[in-house]
Each structure stands twice: as C-alpha cells, then as structure tokens.
Point group: C2
Chain length 327, copies 2
C-alpha cells in the first residue's frame, strides 16, 4: 500500500512527518514506507503508484486531476470539506475520508469557554477594559443550564460530553435521532423548532451543505428565549448572521461567540465586529497545533486498518450530503 | 432564638427575605419568626433581644457596637471579611461566621473560564476584535494541563473539583496539607516554591491576611514557567501586581485573568488595564445573584443546626488568622 503525504506550504498546521506516522502505524501490515512531499511536481512522479493520498484542502487541488490508476483512498486532513465542493474532481471509485475526531476535544472546550464567557458578561467587560472602566457586572452559574447541541458528529458529541461534565443538561439534535450517552434526549432536525424555546445555549457543530444552509434562519432564531446564547464552531453559513445581529442589537438574544462566519476572513467593515455581546474569533476553535497531527494520523491509521480488513471506514465522507457517512 | 436579618441598601445582592428563610429553615427547632430590617434605628429597638445577627460587611458597622447582651452569633453574608479587620468591634464572646461555600461553584466556573480564555488567546483576540482585525491565532487544549490551586477552602476546593472534571491534573496547596478528593496531591504552603515550576496554571483562592500578603511575590512569580497563566478569585493583595505586570510585559508569563486587585475599584490610569494578556473583571467572579441568597441561608441554617446541637460550627471565622477555623 503506497501512501503519499502531501504537505502544502499554506497549511495552518505543521507538516505531517514520518516520525508522527511511525508512532501510530504499528497496527498496519508493513508495506513499504510512505512518501512525503510538498511540491506538486514531486507528486506527479509518484502518482501512478499512489494508493492512499493524504492532503489538506489547501493543497489537494494542485494534485488532481492526474493519472492516478491505483488511487483508492483520499484522506483529507480537515473535518469540514465544503471548500472542496463540488466534488466532481474526485477520481471515480476513490473513497474520500476526512479527519473528523481530530478536533473534537479542542472545539468542545471552546464551546464551554464561550458559554462561560457569556454567563460572565465578558463581551461587555472586554469593552469596559478597553475603556479602563470598572463597571457593575453580573455573572451567573453555567451548571444546571440547558444546552442544545445541533450536530452530533465528533465535535458535537464531545461538546455534549464536556457540557455534561460541567453540570449542564444537554439535548442533541441530529438528522437521525439516535441516542447519545451524554444527551438526556436526542431529537431529529424536524424537532428543532420545539427545542429552541427551551435552550439556555445553542451550540452549532454542523458542516455546511445545502441542507444546513441558514438552518438557524430569522424565524428559528426568533424562537430562542432572550436569555439564550449561541456558540458556533461548525460553519458560518448555518446561521443567518444578519438576523442574529438584529436580535443581538435589539437585546432579544443574550450573546453569541462565533468562530466561523458567512464570509472569512471577516471583512474589516463587517457588522459582526461591533455587534453588542458578540465575540469574534478567527476560525481557530478546533485546531490545537500541539495535538492535531498526532490525532489526524491516528484517525488515518484507524481507517487504513479497517480498509485492510474490509470493514466500513469510520471517516468515509459522503460527497452528496457533505458529511461523514457514519456520523 | 431571635434572629435578625439586616439588609443594607449598598449590598450588591438582593435583600434576604422571609420567603428564602422559610425554604431552608425546616431543620431548625421553631422559636419564633426572624426579624428583617434595613434601618439601623430599627435594629436598635430589637438589639437587646437579638441572639443571631445576619448582615453584610457593608451594613454591619452601622449596627455595632451597641448593647446586645444576648448576641451569640454574627453571621456575615460574605466569604472574605478582610474589609472588617481589625475585629476589635466584635462584642466579646460573640462567634463570627462567614458564608463560605455560597460562592464556590460560581467562582470555580470563573477559574475554568479564565484558563480556557488564556489557552485560546482571548486577550489578544479581544484586542483584535476591537480593532476589527482578523489575525492568526492559536488555541490549545486545556485537558491534560496541570493546575496548582492555592487555598483549598470552599472556592479552591470547588475549583479543584471542576478542573478535574474537565480533565486537568490538580495540585492543591494549603497551610495544612490534608488530602482533597480532587487533588492528585496536596502540599503545604512551605512546598509552594517546589510546585510553581510545574504549573500550567495557578489559581488563587485565598483570603487576605498578613500571612497571605504578596504570597506570590516577585521571587515566586519568577518560578513559574513562561507558559503558565494565573487566575485570581481570592484577594488582589495576595499577588505582587507590579511584579506580575512586569513578567507579562516581558513575555515571561502567558497571561492572567484577575477578578481582584490590590486597589478596588481599579483606578482608570492603572497599569493592569493595558498590560498584555491580562484580563480584568470587576470583582464579580463569585457572585451569582440568582443563587447567592438561597445558598447563604442554607449555610446559615446548617450552622444554626450545629449550634443548637452543640457541635462545631462549619463556618466559624478565625479573627486572628482571617479565615475559617475549619477550612
């Protein structure tokens, strides 16, 4: 099995290395050493032999299409692959996988941070600090609150787990309402309207696809109680940002902590920078540079082991639905 | 047993009410209804009969000294009573109690929020948001990190518990190194110098007294690794703020989230407002207005029950050490 790792110079994470591979590859049948490259010309030389290609969305379009007669698996080192859609460039018969799971704990911690920041009036206090003003401020306890997690993939699931550990009640929402061990209840997307009015917080951990576009639209956002806060670690286009900013400005929502936006990078003149009780972070909630490479290769190896055994691939990506097949 | 609740107009919390009292007083022998007042003149009328006086540090000095021949217990509705020192105005033979425990979970959540904010570069990101700048930013996972909690009273203990729930290793530091169920190890204050170099975070949950003044002085702060962050929910004077700001400016400390300061309110021109990677909040970390009254009365009743039974009082305050007798 010839594996080829393509490291692109614009990747946010550090290059994947042979040392990291060796740490995790024990479970595999040894079949030669993987190749590592960072230059598309280098890949072109090896393309006829490559069976498994590992690359980020930043670099992959420089490599394909190309004559890759033995390519079977394309492992993309991100979880959300919407930047690569439409997927008509994927060679026929090639299975695409993502690294869903590599970001789960980091992103879950960001969600808990966001909820604690909103409970403690941190958006107003950040402004007061910038103006050197000691203002009266109120903080409230997060424990006991009700979190609605929309999307129960790796990140949404880890968010439910961590939220429960800090004492919250968690309702999960996903397309097929199978139970989750850390959700008191899991409902289908068709029941979203019914649970929104009961939320203290909504955490969004969804990929973007036609079916999730503006899932929180103006009508659904208005179903949230005024005490509610929103944390988004999925994709910006799952929320109608203009409608959300309207509600925040009107005091009809308590706050929002957003790591993802309809347009990224957020333009300097954009409304979200100054919307009250809105915290902006630059799409960094899910990436821990200290752990992402090890986690990614561990997930890759888990999938390669399954592939060698002829078992279902845990991270197989559904190019039509734009999410994992088995999420 | 005649109980008198004095609500002062400058109290941050809402007045204590008879309804709140009734919810928690079941365990007590019924001995007449408590009295409630907010005017010192009103207290003067009842002072000769009062056995238990409940008041905040804001109001108490308006009431005493006065002829209170039957006064036995003085329950102060704060945890840190340093504002009332020296305690020479306390009538001889009267036992002072605080409401330690009423703030524990709220303050513990603040500490976890502070650590997550520092792990996620939030001080730099708050500044970037104020300037409408989308900057490269790094976040790292909190789980697996090492927290040193200094002070294991109600707040420090709850902090250890919550930090462990989110996956941290916790070392406790207190004057007498008895074990704590959520600390891997507890050491005495004499071992503080040995544990500081191993910390990813130091949380301070200490009262201020001569023995804790500048406990984190310039020499001890320099023992912390450059990756370390500080969260203070106790009292500002337990840290040498100038030394800490020097280290933050030199990049020799990763950050600090401070709710308490050597001088409060923080003066507008004070250095801490603009020190890099320093988050300022206005002494609000421990107060949840939704729960503090219920929690305070629950603690009061627990102590009254112990008093009626002749048992040790859990919240008895040591006027010499400036902390609970049994902390």
């Amino acid at each position: 099995m010839q594996i080829y790792f393509h490291n692109h110079s614009a990747d946010a994470a550090a290059p994947l290395t042979e040392g990291e591979w060796q740490r995790h590859a024990q479970g595999l049948r040894p079949e030669g050493r993987p190749l590592f490259g960072s230059d598309p010309a280098q890949f072109r030389i090896h393309a006829p032999q490559v069976e498994v290609l590992v690359a980020s969305p930043m670099g992959i379009r420089d490599l394909l299409p190309l004559a890759t007669p033995h390519l079977r698996l394309l492992f993309v080192t991100w979880a959300g692959l919407d930047r690569l859609a439409p997927y008509d460039w994927v060679p026929p018969g090639v299975i695409v996988l993502n690294n869903s799971g590599a970001h789960a704990l980091k992103a879950a911690e960001y969600v808990v941070m966001g909820m604690l920041m909103l409970k403690n009036s941190m958006p107003a206090l950040a402004r007061a600090q910038a103006e050197h003003r000691w203002i009266p401020a109120v903080g409230r306890t997060l424990a006991g609150g009700h979190l609605v997690v929309v999307g129960l993939g790796a990140i949404g699931g880890a968010t439910a787990t961590l939220a429960r550990k800090v004492g919250m009640r968690v309702t999960g929402v996903r397309s097929t309402p199978r139970p989750h061990p850390d959700c008191e209840v899991v409902v289908g997307l068709d029941a979203l309207d019914a649970v929104l009015p009961t939320a203290d917080f909504v955490a969004l951990a969804l990929p973007h696809s036609p079916s999730t576009h503006h899932l929180l639209d103006r009508r659904r956002l208005a179903l949230l109680p005024a005490r509610a806060g929103i944390v988004n670690v999925g994709r910006g286009r799952t929320i109608d940002e203009a409608a959300m900013c309207d509600l925040l400005e009107a005091g009809r929502l308590a706050g929002a902590v957003l790591d993802v936006f309809e347009e990224e990078p957020l333009p300097p003149a954009y409304r979200a920078w100054t919307t009250p009780n809105l915290v902006v972070t630059p799409h960094m909630s899910a990436d821990d540079p200290d752990t992402v490479n090890d986690a990614t290769i561990e997930i890759l190896v888990r999938n390669l082991v399954a592939w060698q055994r002829g078992e279902p691939l845990p991270n197989e990506f559904d190019l039509v639905r734009g999410t994992r097949v088995r999420a």
